[in-house]
C-alpha cells in the first residue's frame, strides 16, 4: 500500500508540475500578444513569430492543463444527478465511466499522438500558417506527453475510486 500511495503521489506531483509549467505560457500569451501589437502599431515592426508563438502557447496551456484539471476535478460535469449521489455511488459511476468513456478514447489518442510526434521529427514537419515555419515536432511531443500525463492521472483517480468503493475510506 505504501508503494501504491507513493506512486499516486508521484502522479499527482506530475500533474501539479504540468499546471505549474503550463501556466507560464498563459503569461507568455499576454506578453507576446501585447509586444506584437505595440511593435507593429507604434514601431512599424510587426513580428513574423508572434502568430505561431501565440498558437503554440495556447496549445501548451490547454494540453498541460488537461491532467492538472483532472487532478483538481475541474473538467465540467453535468452534476444534476451525479451531485445528489453518495460519495460511494459517485466513485462507482466514475469507475464505470472512465473504463468506457475515458481510457479507450485517450489511449487511442495517445497512440496517434506518439505516431505523429515521431513522424514530425522524422519528416521535419513545420507549421506553415506564417512563413516563420516553426518545427511542429516539439509541440506534437508536448501534445503526446500531455495525453500521457492525463492518462496517468486518470489511472490514479481510478485507483482511488476503487479503493474508496472497497474500503469505504480514501487512500490518502
Amino acid at each position: 500500500m505504501a508503494i501504491l500511495l507513493k506512486v499516486l503521489k508521484i502522479i499527482d506531483w506530475l500533474s501539479e508540475k504540468a499546471g505549474a509549467v503550463g501556466k507560464w505560457f498563459a503569461f507568455l500569451l499576454v506578453l507576446v500578444g501585447s509586444y506584437d501589437a505595440i511593435s507593429r502599431h507604434f514601431f512599424n515592426a510587426p513580428t513574423i513569430w508572434a502568430y505561431d508563438t501565440l498558437c503554440i502557447s495556447g496549445g501548451v496551456i490547454y494540453m498541460l492543463g488537461a491532467s492538472y484539471d483532472y487532478l483538481h476535478d475541474a473538467h465540467t460535469r453535468v452534476d444534476l444527478i451525479y451531485g445528489n449521489l453518495s460519495k460511494r455511488a459517485q466513485a462507482i459511476s466514475d469507475i464505470v465511466c472512465s473504463l468506457f468513456l475515458f481510457f479507450p478514447l485517450m489511449i487511442f489518442m495517445l497512440k496517434l499522438a506518439i505516431r505523429w510526434a515521431v513522424k514530425a521529427w522524422q519528416i521535419h514537419e513545420v507549421m506553415f500558417t506564417s512563413f516563420w515555419y516553426p518545427p511542429a515536432a516539439p509541440y506534437r511531443t508536448v501534445f503526446a506527453i500531455s495525453l500521457f500525463l492525463l492518462i496517468l492521472q486518470g489511472g490514479a483517480r481510478l485507483v482511488r475510486d476503487f479503493y474508496f468503493v472497497i474500503k469505504g475510506e480514501t487512500i490518502d
Binding site: 512599424n44 510587426p46 502568430y51 507549421m127 506553415f128 506564417s130 512563413f131
Partner: protein, 334 residues
C-alpha cells in the same frame, strides 16, 4: 416463372455494391474551388453509372482544412482538392508549385504540369506517400492580385515599411525587400484594413475578393504577374484506392478531373475579368504594379530560391530548375 426468377437473379448479380470514395475540397462551401470540386465528384459518380460514388465534403468538415493530403495518405479520404502549398509542412518544394513570386503564369503552369514533367516531379516529391496526381489534375487559378491597398504604390520606395498582410514565400521575399509584413488570418483582413492595423494585403483571387467586399476597405487594387502569377489547385488521389479501380473507372476519374480542372480555370479567368470591371465600377482604382517593384521582386525572388535550392533536399532544386527552364522557354515563345 422459373425464367423470371433466373432473370431476377441475373439482375441482382449485376447490381454490384458501389465503390464509395470520400473526397474533400479545402472549402468554405461558397469557394469557387470547392464548388468545382463538388461538381467533379458528382460528375464521376454519374459517369460511372453509380459504380463509383464519390461523396464530396466541404473543406474542414472531416479533417481540418489543408490536411486533406495527410488524410488521403491515412486512408480517411480517397481524393482531395487542395493547394500544393498547404503541404509544405512535409515538403518545402510543395511551395514551388504554388502562388509564389517568380512562379509560372496560368498557361505556362498548366502546360508544364501536364506535358513538361510537372505532375511527375510532384509524384516524385511525394515519394512513398500513398498519394498521387496526374496530368490534367491542376487548375492554375488566375491570381493576379498583387495587393489591395490603401497606399498608392508609385515606386519601390513606397514598399519600404508598408504594413502589408502577406503570407507564404511572397511575404518573406517582400520582407527582405523592406516591407513590414504582417501575419494575420485571412478572416481578419477586412477589419484590419478598416481600422488601419495594416495598409495593404493579398488574398485569393479578384473574383473571390470581390465577394469579400474588399473595395470597402481598400481604394487601390494592384495587379501584377510577379508576386503570384497563378494559384494552382491540384486533385490528389489515393494510390491504392486508384489502383484497385477497374481500368474504365480509372479512365473516368482521370477524364472528369481533367475536365473540371480546366473548366474551373476558364470559369475563374472569366470571373476575374468581370470582377475587375466591378471593382472599377464602384470606384476602386485598378493599377498595374510599377515596373521597378516588379523587377526588384523578381530579382529578390530569384536570389531567395537559389539560396533555398542550395540548402533544401535535391528535389527542391530539381523542381525549381524545371519550372525556371520552362518559364524561360515559355517567355521566349511570347
Amino acid at each position: 416463372k422459373s425464367e423470371a426468377s433466373v432473370a431476377g437473379g441475373d439482375t441482382a448479380a449485376k447490381v454490384v455494391k458501389p465503390i464509395i470514395w470520400k473526397s474533400s475540397g479545402h472549402g468554405p462551401a461558397t469557394d469557387f474551388s470547392q464548388m468545382y470540386h463538388d461538381n467533379c465528384c458528382n460528375a464521376i459518380t454519374e459517369a460511372s453509372g453509380g459504380r463509383l460514388v464519390v461523396k464530396p465534403f466541404v473543406g474542414g468538415s472531416i479533417v481540418p482544412a489543408y490536411k486533406e493530403l495527410d488524410a488521403i495518405n491515412e486512408g480517411v479520404l480517397q481524393m482531395g482538392y487542395t493547394c500544393p502549398m498547404y503541404n509544405l509542412d512535409k515538403w518545402p518544394a510543395a511551395g514551388l508549385i504554388s502562388s509564389r513570386p517568380g512562379g509560372l503564369p496560368g498557361e505556362a503552369m498548366r502546360t508544364w504540369f501536364n506535358l513538361g514533367g510537372g505532375a511527375d516531379l510532384m509524384n516524385k516529391m511525394m515519394g512513398d506517400y500513398d498519394v498521387m496526381t496526374f496530368p490534367g489534375a491542376l487548375a492554375p487559378l488566375p491570381e493576379e492580385v498583387f495587393f489591395h491597398s490603401k497606399v498608392k504604390l508609385e515606386s519601390l520606395a513606397d514598399l519600404q515599411g508598408l504594413k502589408a498582410r502577406c503570407m507564404g514565400d511572397g511575404g518573406e521575399i517582400l520582407k527582405r525587400m523592406g516591407a513590414a509584413t504582417v501575419i494575420i488570418p485571412g478572416s481578419e483582413c477586412y477589419e484590419a484594413m478598416q481600422r488601419g492595423t495594416i495598409d495593404a494585403f493579398e488574398y485569393s483571387t479578384v473574383a473571390t475578393n470581390w465577394n469579400m467586399h474588399f473595395n470597402e476597405v481598400a481604394p487601390y487594387l494592384y495587379l501584377s504577374p510577379t508576386r503570384a502569377p497563378s494559384d494552382p489547385q491540384v486533385f490528389f488521389v489515393s494510390k491504392s484506392a486508384f489502383n484497385e479501380l477497374p481500368a474504365d473507372l480509372q479512365e473516368i476519374v482521370r477524364t472528369e478531373i481533367s475536365k473540371w480542372s480546366q473548366a474551373q480555370h476558364e470559369y475563374l479567368v472569366f470571373e476575374s475579368v468581370k470582377a475587375i470591371d466591378k471593382f472599377k465600377e464602384v470606384g476602386t482604382k485598378v493599377y498595374k504594379v510599377p515596373k521597378d517593384i516588379e523587377d526588384a521582386l523578381n530579382a529578390e525572388a530569384a536570389a531567395f530560391y537559389e539560396e533555398k535550392s542550395a540548402s533544401e533536399d535535391p528535389i527542391f532544386a530539381e523542381i525549381y530548375q524545371s519550372m525556371k527552364n520552362y518559364g524561360e522557354a515559355y517567355n521566349a515563345l511570347h
